[in-house]
Symmetry: C2
């Protein structure tokens, strides 16, 4: 079993995509995260739903937990403003690492070793050519776990 | 909207549960992670699928990527041995933090602030009584994102 056989489609957005639209996409399809591609279509980062929650909550509320308790729901309508007019790229943490990228010919064990080294919930599968990186799909940790258990007869 | 209204059931296992059974549970139900409870039933850790993949892959393969490429699939049946006879507790990283725990009366914004502070994909909701901690359920980041967007009219 090779990475190209394990790769599946996964919702992705661009660093230039609208942040509010990306948050809605996550929320509506109950996606725990999105793959973010850079301007050239190459994997740039994984954007977890928890990061979107972090962007929605005003900084002063994160820093002072007692404030969160006293802000009532009337103010909730202000939350969306944190995303409106912003790009996905602006929502990424500054230290967001690039997602691990496997070669289409990598074995399941190579993908697993890559995932284990960087503790990533997913690995992108991409073909590197002289024209750039062509994304084939994504392998999630739980999908890979399923395949490894099957292969080991468990 | 309070944490008690947002909490939903979530698959959990005990630190004493069989690791292979836990991995199968994850794989079969495509769960990106499990909530791990300690001996008293209190939230102890979040066990992501990527950690289970890490446990399955022999240490020497993680350390030497070139080895992963040359180990053929005949050896895959040995992978399950890393889990067989072990407990979930033994699969947790040593530095696994306890999951954040919200009070049932916390507001959605308090839960969001808690999630944002610790960058957790989920928050456990539990009632603390003199008899111990009683788990009501879990709020995932994507569920909370959905609620916050709804509340803000987005």
């Amino acid at each position: 079993m090779r990475a190209r056989d394990l790769a599946v489609d996964y919702e992705s957005v661009s660093v230039d995509s609208d942040a509010l639209a990306a948050a809605r996409l996550m929320a509506e399809h109950r996606l725990p995260g999105l793959l973010v591609l850079d301007e050239r279509g190459e994997p740039r980062a994984i954007l977890p739903a928890s990061q979107m929650v972090k962007v929605l909550v005003p900084e002063y509320v994160i820093e002072d937990p007692t404030l969160a308790a006293v802000i009532d729901e009337k103010h909730a309508d202000r939350l969306g403003r944190a995303l409106a007019g912003h790009s996905v790229g602006e929502c990424l943490p500054r230290d967001a690492p690039s997602p691990p990228v496997a070669d289409p010919d990598d074995t399941a064990l190579e993908v697993a070793a890559l995932m284990a080294r960087v503790r990533s919930p997913l690995v992108a599968v991409a073909e590197k050519t002289k024209d750039g990186t062509h994304l084939l799909g994504v392998i999630t940790a739980v999908h890979l776990l399923h395949e490894l258990l099957e292969a080991s007869g468990n």
